[in-house]
Symmetry: C2
Subunit: 126 residues, 2 copies
């Protein structure tokens, strides 16, 4: 299900959070779909269950999943845009920073437009 780099400088639980977020965002995991259990994923990746749980806790905090004790962990339904306003602002800030860095290195306006259209297409394809 995932490929993790155990000797990366970025913590395993963070890598997990990123990977799962990606699957949810790309629609490969749909609303209310069940995620692998903590123990199952722990076995599958040969990573300590505590590390998996830490990732799941983080995903729950960020609103990407919800967990029901005894039942399992599931993909959370999308929230209203207004509720995500702050998060969107932060993301736009990050994008701005990356754009500035990119332009400094010689990136073009068109490079961004291309990526944007690319993303819009992916989004429409769902």
């Amino acid at each position: 299900m995932f490929e993790l780099d155990v000797r990366s400088r970025v913590p395993i639980y963070e890598q997990l959070v990123e990977k799962i977020k990606e699957l949810i965002i790309k629609g490969l995991l749909k609303e209310h779909e069940q995620l692998p259990s903590v123990r199952a994923l722990s076995n599958d990746l040969t990573i300590n269950p505590n590390t998996i749980q830490k990732a799941y806790r983080e995903l729950e905090n960020q609103g990407y999943i919800y967990s029901i004790p005894g039942k399992g962990s599931f993909v959370a339904p999308l929230k209203d845009k207004d509720i995500n306003k702050e998060k969107i602002e932060k993301i736009l800030e990050e994008i701005k920073k990356l754009m500035l860095e990119g332009f400094h290195l010689g990136m073009n306006r068109e490079d961004i437009i291309k990526v944007l259209e690319d993303v819009v297409k992916i989004k429409e394809g769902k």
Copy 2:
């Protein structure tokens, strides 16, 4: 000169790298301009000189500054676009990931365009 959060989860030296990159990218530090010495900045921020040096080494590795033993550290001149091609690709990848996340949260195409035009203006203003 800087504001660092010593109790942030992100390492001090990384924060330093980001801050200085930002100053260079925004043009507040110009080519061949001298940076504060390792010891001066260490004193100023009350942070260990080794930590400062680690940040400077990282900035040098990334091509943002160059250092001359005995003289000081200076803002590196811009490199050719071709040389930065790989870096630009990575930045575009990151931007794409952020765009996907943003759209998932309800961000609009126009939000991006606005930021893009904003950045283009800043770039032209130099």
